[in-house]
Subunit: 411 residues, 2 copies
């Protein structure tokens, strides 16, 4: 009970930055006395800090509020993002501020299993050198991860499969190191950055060489039952259709991924093997061409939009319209895609209110993904370290407790 409320207070502080005790009381709905007790506990153990007047000096009568803040030195975490030819790492303090950030270019496609694992370990070691010990690593990766958040099951960035980043990092640094899908991290970040718009149900789509998606349902990240990642890009748009990077046919990605648009715009057939990478500039040129005149480029974007529109329609048929965030390099051409998307959407069951569906575009994905990973790591830390005992889901518990959980879910 206390644990839950501690967690509540920490979450409130993390969200609002420098709240006073009174603000926390309002935010959490707990009484002033309770907040006072919890806050003094947190301060005493060094999790929180009083930081004087905060920013705004209120010119009101009465005892001034004293701003609280999570103690940046209470802990730090490392977050990293592994994508095609790129590895980003960041060190983040307990408040969520980035202390250091670094980006490495590595040839992921050609690297062996051990080279990939060692590269991530080296990147973390390099970043954290001389820093006080961090307590957790959050690893965001492009591709499908397992639901235990231990390894990368499959990824377009490497021909290898089942890469155990989680155990490797845990062995190297001795701290919990969950591995999660990059698009899920995007969704987590969006929720922190704009809780008004992105609250309990929304969709984050990453548009670049391939297509990924993160789904927030009922206020929780939805990761499937076994593996993670809603494979929106690999829903079938046309049974038996264009060749996809995944080897199957007719996937949405095989129409709307960069490689697909490029393939179509270059007049190549839908059976042509997808190319590995396309420069952002190249895509921009295609978009420019499509904006200027009728032709294969415009047609390519049209088909891309159509595939996405039907896919979204199918998604909405299942889960109902919700705010959509479109993230990544592909947003640069979203002005061309959007009319086609809406047009296809309107033809589907999910698109009944197609015009009401709201898209937001965010061009840069990496900062978002790192931020999501950081928040995931920090809330994990809160759960495990600063307010333990709450929801120890994966702990080996005696069956009574599990049963209890089952009943509480039913009730």
């Amino acid at each position: 009970m206390r644990k839950r409320n501690r967690a509540l207070v920490i979450a409130a502080a993390r969200q609002s930055g420098q709240p006073s005790r009174t603000e926390i009381a309002k935010l959490t709905g707990l009484s002033h006395s309770t907040i006072s007790a919890i806050a003094s506990g947190l301060i005493e153990e060094g999790t929180m800090r009083e930081v004087g007047q905060g920013d705004a000096v209120p010119l009101r009568r009465g005892r001034p509020q004293v701003a609280l803040s999570l103690n940046p030195d209470a802990a730090s975490v490392v977050c990293l993002y592994l994508s095609f030819n790129s590895l980003s790492v960041a060190l983040v303090d307990y408040r969520g501020e980035t202390i250091a950030i670094r980006k490495h270019r590595i040839p992921t496609l050609e690297m062996t299993r051990d080279e990939l694992l060692d590269a991530t370990i080296a990147a973390v070691r390099d970043l954290a050198q001389g820093q006080r010990g961090f307590l957790r690593i959050a690893c965001a990766v492009q591709g499908i991860t397992d639901s235990a958040e231990r390894e990368l099951l499959w990824s377009p960035i490497t021909p290898l499969s089942a890469l155990p980043f989680g155990p490797a990092l845990e062995d190297a640094f001795g701290v919990p190191s969950p591995v999660q899908n990059d698009c899920n991290m995007m969704a987590v970040a969006l929720r922190w950055l704009n809780p008004e718009r992105y609250s309990d149900n929304f969709i984050a789509i990453l548009l670049s060489h391939g297509i990924g998606m993160g789904l927030m349902l009922n206020g929780k990240m939805f990761s499937g039952t076994r593996s993670s990642a809603g494979e929106f890009g690999h829903m079938v748009h046309e049974p038996g259709g264009a060749l996809c990077r995944c080897g199957r046919r007719g996937c949405i990605e095989a129409y709307a991924g960069n490689y697909a648009i490029w393939r179509r715009a270059s007049g190549k057939g839908p059976d042509e093997k997808p190319v590995v990478d396309i420069e952002a500039g190249e895509m921009e040129k295609l978009a420019e061409l499509a904006r200027r005149e009728e032709g294969p480029a415009r047609q390519a974007f049209r088909e891309a939009g159509r595939a996405m529109g039907y896919g979204l329609g199918n998604l909405f048929a299942l889960i109902d319209p919700a705010p959509v965030a479109i993230v990544g390099q592909g947003t640069a051409a979203f002005d061309i895609l959007e009319p086609e998307i809406r047009c296809a959407l309107a033809e589907t069951a999910g698109g009944q209110h197609a015009e009401a569906i709201s898209f937001e575009t965010l061009p840069s994905a990496t900062p978002l993904i790192l931020h999501g990973a950081a928040m995931t790591a920090l809330t994990g830390l809160d759960r495990d370290v600063f307010a333990p005992g709450l929801r120890t889901s994966r702990q080996a518990e005696p069956s009574p407790k599990e049963r209890s959980a089952q009943f509480s879910r039913m009730a």
Copy 2:
């Protein structure tokens, strides 16, 4: 806190029928003292009852366990199921045992708004006449309901829309009367009947004239954000394809619903307007024909299976394989459909482990739906009446509490 544990105890009792205090303690994970206190409270207020030795007389030493049971007279609820030309009502006691059940044949397609509402009211009145007052009505309907569970937004059983069954029943009987999708009720029932197989993530598909689906995700019924009902049947299988009952084209239902199979098997074109109803015997004849020889009937079932397979594949691409229950008249031909479904599934991203996906068929839907509605009503009763104060989601609360909820979701 007490409220939560009371709810836990009630849920445990409802699930296991006649548990002793010791069993409840095991099941809920609470201590014996707590159970003792809660149980005596529940018994005193008449919610629970001691029922002596229960069924099995244990031939062990020691003080014998005394079996508890929910008091059947503590309350009763009415559940009803409105489907094409049919209205079923049942009166259920607080234990969940059916006291009375009745089925009416009504021409839903031709009835006016008021006739439909009055028919449901009359059916409830007729059933409950002379019985002690019931405390809740649960209304399962074929079609799309709103997320507030007030009305039937759209349904294949009537050309009318936005039928306010909830308010109408509440006005007539003065008790809460949520309206929910029939397939969701199926899913709820499956979870009660077979929690081993149907636990936190599974899919219930109703196969008959049309196609419906209920989705259990993360242990909760997933109903979209605005309306309810995962419209699996109206996901697009072939963009611009066969004409569907809903007026759109290419929906899964337009290939796999009874009317679609019948249309294809009779050699009619995919643009032919769907017929309103087909006798079960007629469908059985078609299935027989398809089993016997190559021809349009077999081809029709093939295409039906293919549409379902791709649809399931797309679904699994998003939410990962989970147990599937296939319910309703259409299961009679599932032996013909299954190979095709698996074959199409294997071509999709969601079908990577197609052979591992498990289907269970249950021919009769109505009892399942009524049972689900009954359980929904009873757990609603538990929440509102027998353990109030827990999660009063829709109550007008001061914003602090809502905020609090927001934070707790983030943490």
